[in-house]
Symmetry: C2
Subunit: 361 residues, 2 copies
Amino acid sequence: MKTLNVNLGDKRSYPIHIGSDLLDGSDLLSPFLSKQVMIVSNTTVAPLYIDRVKSQLGERIVNTIILPDGEAYKTMDSAMQVFDTLLANQYSRNATLIALGGGVIGDLAGFAAACYQRGLPFIQVPTTLLAQVDSSVGGKTAVNHPRGKNMIGAFHQPRYVLIDTSVLKTLPDRELYAGIAEIIKYGLIRDLPFFEWLEANMERLLQRDEEALAYAVERSCINKAEVVGEDELETGVRAALNLGHTFGHAIETAMGYGVCLHGEAVAIGICQAADLSRRLGWLGDADVARIIKLIERARLPTTPPQTVDTDAFIEHMAVDKKNIDGNLRLVLLKRIGEATLPIPVDSALLKATLDWYGRGP
Amino acid sequence: MKTLNVNLGDKRSYPIHIGSDLLDGSDLLSPFLSKQVMIVSNTTVAPLYIDRVKSQLGERIVNTIILPDGEAYKTMDSAMQVFDTLLANQYSRNATLIALGGGVIGDLAGFAAACYQRGLPFIQVPTTLLAQVDSSVGGKTAVNHPRGKNMIGAFHQPRYVLIDTSVLKTLPDRELYAGIAEIIKYGLIRDLPFFEWLEANMERLLQRDEEALAYAVERSCINKAEVVGEDELETGVRAALNLGHTFGHAIETAMGYGVCLHGEAVAIGICQAADLSRRLGWLGDADVARIIKLIERARLPTTPPQTVDTDAFIEHMAVDKKNIDGNLRLVLLKRIGEATLPIPVDSALLKATLDWYGRGP
């Protein structure tokens, strides 16, 4: 087992434990828990893992909320279900909420934890690759609004992140690939050696080589923890973690949440951001080709569905958390391994990228 | 005009400006505003004051959300209306939200500001006495849940509080009295000289003597700002501000939000807390009588409606933000001018107080 630390000062720093079979028999959760514990999970993950988590909780009062699986359920209605259950069981402000699932469960449960009685302690137990390498770390919580992804949320840091890499064995292929999109992102924005490692080891990841997966998870978490420690509330460098996300969120919103997985949308968005970076003269054709090739090797899509045309992108990108005064700003690439801060982009260049991608196969 | 300061360190301290006719012609709001501004108000306050606020905003993009008046609308549905409108108008994360109204509008708009894109700047322009002396200062925001008052919320400090005491001229009598309940609270929990001043000046407040009202608002805000500066997130002394509120919230929830005004419920709750403090030997009979007399002079109720019986209190007090592991804790009085921290209370004593109040007139 390896332990990383998200450094947020005396009171709010927290550990990320990464290892195999951590859900079995370990007593890692115990010190963090209050008498009242609520586990939030979904219909896919709960049958596989919830009993293992419960077995660590001893004599505590444990209740569970099992939501349907999928991005379509990352809504205020689901958050209200969590509030209803907490109140029906008279949970106090010192109760602990455990998010057991992928990014949807982590974001949603984290948001509910942020708002219930103005803030409960919560613990992330991510069970998808995407959640393990990205969404479970850093305290961004949210639900979606029909007009925009993650538009209602809060910064609320977990007390603890428990990453059991063994659970990746049961992950569907498509979810595995989606997670790799965020892993590639770290290489692109700030870690060229990691990007090169991914070029050399992509097949091992796809074959679920345990050592390779554990390394990719750890290296991703190191990158994430560093960035979050530097800029918790995203007033600066943290925005780089959004590479490809403004395009990606537009795809997810336009198609309806859950049609395209978040990681798939981000993969497409990264290709679009790379293309725009090329039009600005920062990346060469060979750089863009190299990025697209790695994404393709991860079995991820590299072009948006034709139903999401230039107008749809423009409409949905108009609400993005990086925008200022309603004006679009994007994270782009200066080179492979270095991202820009969010910057305003010439609308003709943006349109050129969107049109190019919308030209059809 | 007087200016107080809520001291929360370099980045988050903010001013409270108190004066008459501040909404007219002053340029106090200007420096705090972004290009996009959203004013949240209600159907009672907006016709009276929204144009004055708008006239200060110059060439900015201003939209308004006018909600129905009353505690019954401090709901997640109302918050969703705010999110819908912000998104429909493509508001960015740097937009400013102005809460123009009483405690309901301030709490609700503040909560929406806390959660929209994970946090917008917002400004409090309180228009009721209760909001001016209490709820607009300190960053507690929330909506109600059918099972409990303020159960869903966030700590989110305003950038600025603008208190125009002239607006109190249009306040209905019942709202004036309700505000006085929170004013009396400050005297009871930490400011004996202020309690004595209230005993000497209650008639002036009821007659809306401008000087007396301005003094009461200022002295209340001084008390509130000191407590919040010491303990922003209510891990300690801030809980004293909840004197009477656990009883009061139970009354509000049991009766249905808005039947009893918050200040009225708090007035009753203070009497119940005083009675329980007497049973614990901290207050004498004369102290309790003195408290009840001042509350009666403020035209406030001192006993709960008979429909809210002991069982109803016990049920609704079981969810309170001061509880730990589901066990009730209450703020009580050591003497007039000094509150306890939240403490567990012997259930027989609590029942004695509740039964005594439930015995009928």
